[in-house]
C-alpha cells in the first residue's frame, strides 16, 4: 500500500477516533491503561480508546492479524507511531504482554500458545507480570532457584520471586524456573501460569517513593500444566534472554520522557503558575541545555534503533546500549526537575504537588538503572558482545 495514502487515512482515522481526553499529556501513572481481568479505567474515554485501537489491531500494529495484531509492515508501523505522536495521543494500552511476552511467544511459542495468549494480550484482557529476579538471583539471574518438578502431567512449582512488578494486579505470570538443579543456564525453563492458581501469594514492597509497584511473589506447590512450557525443557534461558532484550528496549523508553520535547520548556511552563527565579540560575539552565541535546539525540537513536531492529540490522546486544543510555538519561532528567522545582518539589502529599509527583517520580527513576539488568550489567554486555573486549 502506498505509504502516503496510508498516512492520510491513518491521520483521519486517529482524528475521528481518538477521544479528546486521550490527547492530553499523561500526568501520572493513573493515566495509563493496563487492562486485565480487573481492569480499572480512569474514564469512559480511556476504555473507548482501548477498544477502538484493539479492534483495528493497533495496540500491537506489527503483530499478525491472526493473533490480534494489525498486520502492518515496519514502514506502516512507523507511520502510525509518527501520527500518534503528532496527535499527542496516549498509548491505548500499557502491557508487559505487549512489550515483553508477546515477542517471545511469537518466536518461541507453540501455535496453540500463540492463539490462546496473544489475542488476549492485544485486547488488554489479560495482564501479565514477570517472574525473573529472586532474593539470591539479581544481576546473576541464572542463579535462580525456584524449582519446577516434573509430576507427569504437570510441573510443581515452589520458590520465591522478587521485584515482580504489579504481581498483585496481574492475571498471569511468565516465570523462570529451575528444572535441572545440576546445571546453571541449561537447567532453566520458561513457564506461563495463572496467578489465580492455588499456592500463589504476593506481598507489595514499600519503596523509597512511598509507592509499591514491586512485589514479593511466593509459590507453594503451584501446579502448572505441561503445555504451559514455552520452548524446550531446560532451554528457557534462550527465551529469557530474548525477552530481556525486549524488556530493555521497553525500559529504554523511559529516556524519551513521555514525549516531553525539552526539559527547560517543561520547567519554564511549570514555573509560570508560580513565577519565581527558578530558571534564573544560569548553571541549572546550562545543565538543562546540554540535557536537551542528549535527550533529542537519544530520540533520534530510538528511531534509528527501532528502524534497524525491524529491518534486522540491529546488533543483538543493542538493547543493552539503549537501556543503559535511556535510563541514565531519565535519572538526570528527574534530578534536574527536582532542582528546578526547588522547595516546591519537596512536598510529599499536598494537592498542589500532585501528591508529591515530582519527588516520587525522582525517587522511582532510581530503579531505572537497576530493573531489567543494572547499568553495570548492560556495560558488561556491550563490552563483551559489541566491542569484543577480552574476558578476564
Amino acid at each position: 500500500m502506498d505509504l502516503e495514502k496510508f498516512r492520510t487515512e491513518t491521520r483521519a482515522w486517529l482524528q475521528a477516533n481518538c477521544p479528546a481526553e486521550m490527547r492530553e499529556p499523561v500526568r501520572s501513572d493513573a493515566d495509563y491503561c493496563w487492562g486485565g481481568r480487573r481492569a480499572v479505567f480512569s474514564s469512559p474515554a480511556q476504555q473507548q480508546w482501548l477498544q477502538r485501537m484493539a479492534e483495528r489491531g493497533w495496540t500491537v500494529p506489527d503483530w499478525p492479524t491472526a493473533y490480534g495484531g494489525g498486520g502492518l509492515s515496519a514502514a506502516e508501523t512507523k507511520v502510525l507511531r509518527e501520527e500518534i505522536a503528532a496527535l499527542g495521543a496516549r498509548q491505548p494500552l500499557k502491557s508487559f504482554g505487549i512489550s515483553m511476552l508477546g515477542p517471545a511467544l511469537l518466536k518461541y511459542g507453540t501455535e496453540a500458545q500463540k492463539r490462546e495468549h496473544l489475542p488476549r494480550i492485544a485486547r488488554g484482557e489479560i495482564r501479565w507480570c514477570q517472574g525473573y529476579s529472586e532474593p539470591g538471583a539479581g544481576s546473576d539471574l541464572a542463579a535462580l532457584s525456584t524449582r519446577a518438578e516434573d509430576r507427569g502431567d504437570h510441573f510443581l512449582v515452589n520458590g520465591q520471586k522478587v521485584w515482580t512488578s504489579y504481581a498483585d494486579k496481574a492475571d498471569w505470570i511468565f516465570c523462570l524456573v529451575r528444572t535441572d538443579p545440576k546445571e546453571k543456564h541449561k537447567g532453566i525453563s520458561f513457564l506461563l501460569f495463572d496467578m489465580e492458581s492455588n499456592g500463589i501469594s504476593t506481598r507489595p514492597i514499600q519503596l523509597i517513593s512511598g509507592q509499591s509497584p514491586f512485589c514479593e511473589t511466593f509459590f507453594d506447590d503451584v501446579k502448572v500444566p505441561k503445555e504451559n512450557l514455552v520452548g524446550e525443557l531446560n532451554r528457557g534461558w534462550e527465551v529469557a534472554k530474548y525477552l530481556l532484550g525486549h524488556e530493555r528496549e521497553m525500559i529504554s523508553g523511559f529516556g524519551l520522557g513521555d514525549g516531553q520535547s525539552s526539559i527547560g520548556k517543561a520547567a519554564r511552563q511549570a514555573a509560570e503558575t508560580a513565577p519565581d527565579e527558578r530558571l534564573d540560575d544560569p548553571l541549572l539552565r546550562a545543565q538543562m541545555a546540554v540535557f536537551d541535546v542528549r535527550a533529542a539525540a537519544f530520540r533520534a537513536m530510538t528511531e534509528r534503533f527501532i528502524d534497524e531492529l525491524k529491518a534486522g540490522r540491529a546488533h543483538p546486544a543493542q538493547p543493552s546500549m539503549m537501556k543503559y543510555y535511556g535510563t541514565e538519561l531519565n535519572k538526570i532528567r528527574h534530578t534536574l526537575l527536582m532542582s528546578a522545582g526547588g522547595s516546591d518539589a519537596l512536598e510529599w502529599d499536598s494537592t498542589r504537588s500532585g501528591g508529591g509527583a515530582a519527588a516520587r517520580a525522582w525517587l522511582r527513576s532510581k530503579a531505572n538503572s537497576i530493573e531489567g539488568g543494572t547499568s553495570e550489567i548492560q556495560l558488561n554486555i556491550i563490552a563483551k558482545h559489541i566491542l569484543g573486549l577480552p574476558t578476564a
Partner: protein, 378 residues
C-alpha cells in the same frame, strides 16, 4: 524514511571508506605536517576527490553535479574524520556549494564548473571573534558605484590563504549583533585589498586571518538579499554544522577503534588491560555516546535533505552531540593508551587535536546547546 543508510548509500560509504583508507590515511596527514606543507592539503588528492565526483555531491544535476544530499556529503566527511584527511571538501563542497545555491545564475555559472573540475576551491569567512557568533559582524560593506566596498577582518577561515572564492558575511546595516543588515558576498580570493595570513593550528591545518581593505565587488557578488542575508547564512551554517558533525563522528569512531585495538593488545599484570572492568565500562559508555551522536547526525542530514521545517534544530543537536562524543573519545583514548597516548608516535593525539578544531568550527557544544535552549523558550 528509515533512519539508517539505504543500499546506495552503503555502497557509497564502502567505496569512500576504501578510497580514503588507501589514499588519505593518517600517514598522509603526517607527511604533509612533517613537510610543513604550505597549502595545508594535497592538491593531488583533491584532484582524485574531484574525479570521484565528491566536489559535486551537493551541486544539482542540472548544474552538472551529482545532485545528492547531506547524507551523502556526510558519508564522505565521516571518512575524512576517520582518516584525519586534510581536505577542502567541507569548506568547498559543502560551505561554498550551499552558499552558491542562493546566488545569481551568473555566480553559479562562474563557480560551479570550476569546483566540479577542481580548478577552484573556496571557503567561508564568518567569524570575527575567538568564538563563533555569526551575528557579531562588524565587517562593513558600503555601496560603491554599482557594487560594494568591503572593509574589516575575519578569522578562523579554513584554507583562506589558497581559496579562489571566499563567502564573506558583511554588515550593510544595523548594529554589530543584529540579524538584519547582514549581506553575503562572494569575493575573489585574489581580489585587490584582500590579504590572507595563514596560521598553523594544533592539528596542522591552516586557518587564515583575512583582512579586507576596501575590497571592491560587483553588485552581483551578493548572495541572497542585501540586508536580508541572515536566513541564507543560517542555511549555510546548518549545512556546515551538519558536515562538521559528520566529520566529528568519524573522528570519534576512529579514536575509539584504535583505542579498543590498543587495550586488546596491551598487557599488564599478565592480561590484556582491556579485560579490566574499569576500562570496559568506560569503553562501553563511549560506544553508547558515539552511537547516539551518529543517530542525531543522520537525523539532521535526512531532515536537511527533506527540507523539513525546523531542521536547524536537529542540526544544533547533531553538532553539539557529536562534539560531546568526539571530545570523550579523545580524552578516554589518550587515557586508555597510558603513557604512549602522550607520544607523537601514536595516532590518538592527532584525533584529540582534530576533534578540538572541529569543536570550535561553526560553534561549540556550549554555544549550540545555548541556542537550542533559546529555541525551546528558556
Amino acid at each position: 524514511m528509515p533512519l539508517y543508510l539505504d543500499d546506495d548509500q552503503i555502497i557509497m560509504r564502502d567505496s569512500a571508506r576504501s578510497f580514503m583508507a588507501d589514499q588519505a590515511s593518517v600517514a598522509h596527514l603526517r607527511s604533509l605536517r612533517d613537510a610543513a606543507d604550505p597549502t595545508g592539503f594535497s592538491t593531488d588528492l583533491w584532484k582524485r576527490f574531484v574525479e570521484m565526483g565528491f566536489s559535486g555531491i551537493l551541486i544539482p544535476e542540472a548544474d552538472g553535479g551529482m545532485g545528492l544530499g547531506h547524507v551523502e556529503a556526510g558519508i564522505v566527511l565521516e571518512e575524512i574524520g576517520r582518516n584525519l584527511t586534510p581536505s577542502p571538501f567541507l569548506s568547498t563542497g559543502v560551505g561554498v556549494v550551499t552558499a552558491l545555491g542562493s546566488a545569481t545564475p551568473m555566480l553559479r555559472e562562474r563557480w560551479y564548473p570550476a569546483i566540479l573540475t577542481g580548478r577552484a576551491i573556496g571557503t567561508l569567512a564568518i567569524d570575527e571573534g575567538t568564538k563563533h557568533h555569526p551575528e557579531r559582524i562588524a565587517l562593513k560593506a558600503e555601496r560603491s558605484g554599482k557594487g560594494f566596498r568591503l572593509s574589516g577582518e575575519k578569522r578562523f577561515v579554513q584554507h583562506g590563504h589558497v581559496a579562489d572564492v571566499v563567502i564573506v558575511s558583511a554588515r550593510t546595516g544595523g548594529d554589530v549583533d543584529e540579524r538584519s543588515g547582514v549581506t553575503l558576498f562572494a569575493v575573489d580570493g585574489n581580489a585587490a585589498g584582500l590579504t590572507a595570513t595563514p596560521q598553523r593550528l594544533l592539528d596542522a591545518s591552516l586557518a587564515s586571518r583575512l583582512t579586507l581593505e576596501g575590497v571592491e565587488v560587483e553588485a552581483d557578488a551578493v548572495i541572497g538579499e542585501v540586508d536580508g542575508g541572515w536566513d541564507t547564512l543560517s542555511g549555510i551554517l546548518d549545512a556546515c554544522r551538519a558536515a562538521a558533525a559528520a566529520e566529528l563522528v568519524g573522528v570519534a569512531d576512529a579514536a575509539m577503534a584504535i583505542t579498543l585495538a590498543y587495550i586488546r593488545e596491551r598487557r599488564q599484570f599478565g592480561v590484556p588491560v582491556g579485560s579490566f572492568q574499569a576500562l570496559q565500562h568506560r569503553a562501553a559508555h563511549l560506544y553508547s555516546e558515539i552511537e547516539v551522536a551518529r543517530a542525531a547526525v543522520l537525523k539532521a542530514q535526512q531532515r536537511l535533505d527533506a527540507k523539513a521545517p525546523g531542521a536547524g534544530r536537529d542540526v544544533l543537536v547533531a553538532k553539539a552531540m557529536a562534539g560531546l562524543a568526539a571530545s570523550l573519545a579523545a580524552r578516554e583514548g589518550v587515557q586508555m593508551h597510558g603513557g604512549v597516548g602522550m607520544t607523537d608516535d601514536y595516532d590518538i593525539g592527532l584525533y584529540m587535536k582534530r576533534g578540538r578544531v572541529l569543536e570550535e568550527l561553526f560553534g561549540d557544544t556550549n554555544r549550540l546547546a545555548d541556542r537550542l535552549a533559546q529555541l525551546n523558550g528558556y
